[in-house]
């Protein structure tokens, strides 16, 4: 077996999506943003796996699930560098990158304490006003914040 690659830390899937290189402390946030706990699919979650890049990383393998770009972009703010691999027949057939969507509904908490969204049971809406600088604007109070300072709901 020495000529083969080292043993996988999490078993391979035949068809589906692998989300790799998730920072460990963001893993369960990613799970919840993608609604994985509500899925019926066969899901393998690896937590605190060794990673050369991140030290510790998380990985999620979802059998039989192929995400729309819109869905997967929901995690762009918590795991911007995650790798999305689309698997068919045990082979990676596509690698996707994540980009911040133009509109984020119910993802970001507004950091303005006087914003209506922090005082009323309601859904937040943010728009991306400057992609390069990562500036998000609250649809309600119109305050802007940088993606590096955001709190995800």
């Amino acid at each position: 077996m020495t000529e083969n690659k080292t043993e996988l830390q999490v078993a391979a899937i035949e068809n589906g999506t692998v989300i790799d290189h998730i920072p460990s402390d963001k893993l369960f946030k990613v799970v919840s943003l993608l609604g994985i706990e509500k899925m019926d699919n066969n899901v393998t979650i690896g937590f605190n796996l060794e990673s050369k890049k991140l030290g510790k990383k998380g990985i999620i393998k979802i059998a039989g699930k192929f995400f729309e770009e819109e869905e997967i972009n929901r995690i762009s703010l918590v795991a911007p560098n995650a790798h999305i691999n689309v698997i068919r027949n045990y082979e990676i057939v596509e690698k996707k990158t994540i980009s911040i969507p133009d509109k984020m509904v119910g993802i970001v908490k507004c950091n303005n304490p006087k914003c209506i969204t922090n005082n009323e049971p309601m859904t937040t809406i943010f728009t991306l006003t400057d992609r390069e600088k990562g500036i998000l604007k609250c649809h309600y109070c119109e305050k802007e914040q940088n993606k590096n300072n955001i709190e995800v709901l």
Partner: protein, 311 residues
């Protein structure tokens, strides 16, 4: 039906602003109408604002509408923990239009998304106050005969002053030249200077406030420098008397200059200015009545033609 609410001044195009000013002009000719004879206007003031409320309620009454509402949230269920949504939906059962003032930013936007009736934002925290901007624009239009190519001088608290920010953004259509006169701590924020650059609007910044600086002004828009805005109280003591307008500072100004102020004034315009014909801040408040009559009619679908044909 399209939501006709007025939440933010940016929703108005140049054409719409001019259209609304024409409508206000009609109401100035004849403020008392029966256009809203069978309508009910609700004024929900989740924070007190006497001037704004009196102005809106007068506008509604002069249009023949009946007014319901509250002036102080302590007497309503929001003090018992009722959500804004429930309050708005409940009042929507009774009223044809809701004029609301709220201490939270974004409250009016949210209300406009859930209410089946139009919402008029009468101020949401430090965010938007579009009817104030419309009355400022109407006052400028009326006194200068145009909104185009004017020299507009803004004085005082340009950092927190919501009215100056909204006016600046609404004037972008009309090729103004701005002069920002403020102490360092209350300077015009960068985002608005960037806004000017982006829209090719000329602006100049000044720290001094004297007869030479303002000699070329068409509009002098005064605001109050408030003690509580300063982190450095030494700085406040240094500047508190610098941004006060005295009558003798008007000696070199142009004949067409008019002095505006969103009110209430405390001491930033000294009382010797009041009798100068260039003082305009009391009439400015009266213009608020006409601007608000126009806004209430517009959100209810009443057009300029309807107003002109109303005999």
């Amino acid at each position: 039906m399209k939501n006709r609410s007025l939440v933010a001044i940016e929703e108005y195009s140049k054409e719409k602003i001019l259209y609304m000013l024409e409508m206000a002009k009609e109401f100035e000719k004849r403020p008392n109408r029966k256009l809203l004879d069978s309508k009910i206007v609700a004024t929900l003031f989740f924070e007190p604002s006497t001037r704004t409320r009196l102005s809106f309620e007068t506008a509604a009454n002069r249009l023949g509408a009946k007014v319901i509402g509250f002036t102080d949230p302590k007497v309503t269920s929001s003090s018992k923990g009722e959500t804004l949504k429930d309050t708005i939906l409940m009042v929507s059962n009774y009223a044809d239009v809701i004029v609301m003032r709220h201490y939270l930013e974004g409250a009016a936007r949210y209300a406009s998304e859930i209410a089946p009736v139009p919402i008029v934002n009468a101020g949401d925290g430090a965010n938007q106050h579009p009817s104030q901007t419309m009355l400022d624009l109407y006052s400028i239009y009326k006194t200068q005969g145009t909104l185009e190519n004017l020299n507009i001088y803004m004085v005082g608290d340009l950092k927190y002053g919501r009215t100056v920010h909204s006016l600046l953004m609404a004037m972008r259509h009309f090729n103004p030249t701005f002069h920002f006169i403020a102490p360092d701590e209350l300077k015009m924020p960068d985002e608005y200077k960037l806004f000017c650059q982006k829209h090719n609007i000329k602006y100049f910044e000044h720290r001094e406030f004297n007869e030479n600086v303002i000699a070329d002004a068409d509009i002098l828009y005064m605001t109050r420098v408030q003690r509580e805005r300063f982190t450095d109280l030494m700085e406040y003591e240094r500047v508190k008397n610098v941004y006060i307008l005295h009558n003798d500072m008007l000696c070199k100004t142009k004949d067409n200059l008019r002095i505006l102020h969103p009110l209430p004034r405390v001491n930033e315009i000294s009382y010797d200015v009041d009798d100068n014909p260039k003082a305009y801040f009391i009439q400015q408040a009266q213009n608020g009545l006409y601007a608000r009559e126009a806004i209430i009619c517009d959100v209810l679908g009443i057009t300029l033609d309807d107003v002109r044909n109303d005999k």
